[in-house]
Amino acid sequence: MGGIDPVVLIASLMVASTPILLAAIGELVVEKAGVLNLGVEGMMILGAICGFATAVETGSPMLGFIAAALAGAAFSMIFGVLTQYLLSNQVATGLALTLFGLGLSALIGQGYVGIKAPSTPQLDLPVLSDLPVVGPILFSHDAMLYVSILLVAGVWLFLTRTRGGLILRAVGEGHDAAHALGYKVIRIRLMAIAFGGACAGLGGAYLSLVRVPQWTEGMTAGAGWIALAIVVFASWRPWYALIGAYLFGGIVVLELNLQAAGVKVPVDLLAASPYLVTVLVLVLMSRSKSRTALNAPADLGRSFHATA
């Protein structure tokens, strides 16, 4: 184990966690509005290819991220229209979004396999970035990583401190009551879904532009699903989503490091560990029902149809 440097480990776990964190914080908002979108994986991978292609074509990773967010949001609107206006089953429609996203992204990505993305610049502050330990961990990342943390803070502020956040939570708690008070349930939910799509798109682009950075078919490899699990783990609390994502990133990085260090554990068992850990976390979370129940939006996954 001597080959593993804890500072590098922490710095790289932050990078490894960011795609999942971005997707999770978006889905958290969607679920707080009472919508269960299982299409995170599909939106992520679409964001991954759209961001990658745009960055390659324009040479600008920044434009890539913007394109990824727009693509994710646009793609999520298929889900939005189907579930909110046409009242389709949210579970089935989310699955469809994932299946379609995997196919569509592979189609778009045909010409981009094996190409290298323009590199995303990293923060380089004089003095601060050069500090030992603190420098590499806190002050030497790319801008998107900081954006992801700002997003968490922003979502937390929005949900707990603003009227808009209160209304969003109210829509998720009881859409009929919210409707009776005159709030536009469908419009609010569509906005939440679009935000979730944009975040998932960003998460995907972070994979293809920073973390890997390359395009391969199916490169999300379940990251979107893990983001869904992180939302459950966090009991719909933004800062806990950050903790969950970083813990998860830690496991991934550790696993890769252990593989590299040649530890005598079967490679496939190591490779499966992130998924097994996710299952374990889900089990642990579902055991403590009272804690999750209070935060789980009461109308999560239920279709809303105004009868009045």
Binding site: L166, R169, A170, E173, A180, L181, G182, A293, A298, A308
Partner: protein, 511 residues
Amino acid sequence: MTTLLSVDRLTKAYPGVVANDDVSFAIEPGEVHALLGENGAGKSTLVKMIYGLVRPDSGSMTLSGEAFAPSEPRAARASGVAMVFQHFSLFEALSVAENIALGMENPPKMSALSNRIAEVSQAYGLPLDPARLVGTLSAGERQRVEIIRCLLQEPKLLIMDEPTSVLTPQEVEILFATLRKLREEGTAILYISHKLEEIRALCDAATILRLGKVVASCDPREKSARELAEMMVGKVLHQTKSAGQELGDAVLSVHDLSLPPATQFGTRLANVSFEVRAGEVLGIGGVAGNGQDELLSALSGERKSADHVFLHGDAISRLGPTQRRQIGILSGPEERLGHAAAPDMSLIENALLTGSVRENLAQKGFLNWPKTRSFAERIIETFDVRTPSAQSAARSLSGGNLQKFVIGREVLQRPEVLVVNQPTWGVDAAAAAAIRQALLDLAAKGTAVVVISQDLDELMEISDTFAALNGGKLSAKVPAAGLTVDQIGLMLGGAHDMEVADSHADEALHA
């Protein structure tokens, strides 16, 4: 003084039904105006139009002399119209203050709002803790949240939809004191109810609706309850009568039953004990949300417990619903759609839902559809369920017809014990009378019947014995004959958390 609200020839039609037909009436400032009518008479649609939830097909309204056509509740609130719903539009997982903020256009900061809530609730004798989660409040307290939410906007017109259906008699008195205080301050109140004595006690004017039309306007203080009832129903109702027969041996007994709540905001049953004898109708009164659902599910077998429930002395607590049906314990839950019946399934499939065991509708797991169909048709015929056919989906039936089907389904299975929860809730008067009669007939044949209801009039009408359920505790059972409303109110635990309120209410009453 100009008329506050005048409604002129409002009409609203839905496919297959004209909910409001050419409805006109007027409310003066400071007037408590009753809107009286049976379930389905069109009261709800009418107030939804005033509150901007529904757009009228034709007709017009004026408020304080100006044209008034709210396109959404927000517009109605801005014009000074507030509404307390029958089914509260509250969010259980949010706090009292958050709930109130959601109902306001420009709420102040949370801390300032909390202070305002404390102020107003004291002033009107409706104490509330702004930080509490609404899910932990009783039905009466939830109503206070709604009322205070309205009062903070200083409305000119306050609409109240069946406000007393969730209150104990003492709580009703407190509410009335609050409403009278509001009237003195010049607030007009549109009071929707089908409870005649209340309207006679509180209201200055009444508009009576029947089948979507205004059939009469009057001063309710000058009419007898009977006269009002006949205007409302349009015919003289024949009352069900208790058979008053000899009771047999104890059939069902419950000893010291305690059960944790099934849901986050459910009620814990604590040491519930009672017994019911053959031929007895036991009425269990109490405001909804005090353990009614939990009690029903403990008796139906949906929730099992240690040995606390006995049939003829045999412990049956550990049996599931199917096994309990086998030995003759049948039940009818409160929620018709989704609990007693599956909304999207046909009446035939819904007949199978509880009938499979006692009616022998399945052999070795294989279903006998012809037999099930004839069972369903027997229910429809015996209980006069109005439906095109047994193949119609349960959700296509009106509340009264579906309730007749659901109760009939159990009655036809010749139960030894029948437990029903709110058997006539939201059901039209004719269907309600038929259901009550069916329960009485069943008892006359020797079934032990338990009726859980928050309609005290109903319980007084059909019960031999009465017990009150309050906060998950059941009072001792007493003979129903000769009970007064005040006695019942005391059995129901009086007013919930009303110690503070009482003093203020007294002041208000004597002011």
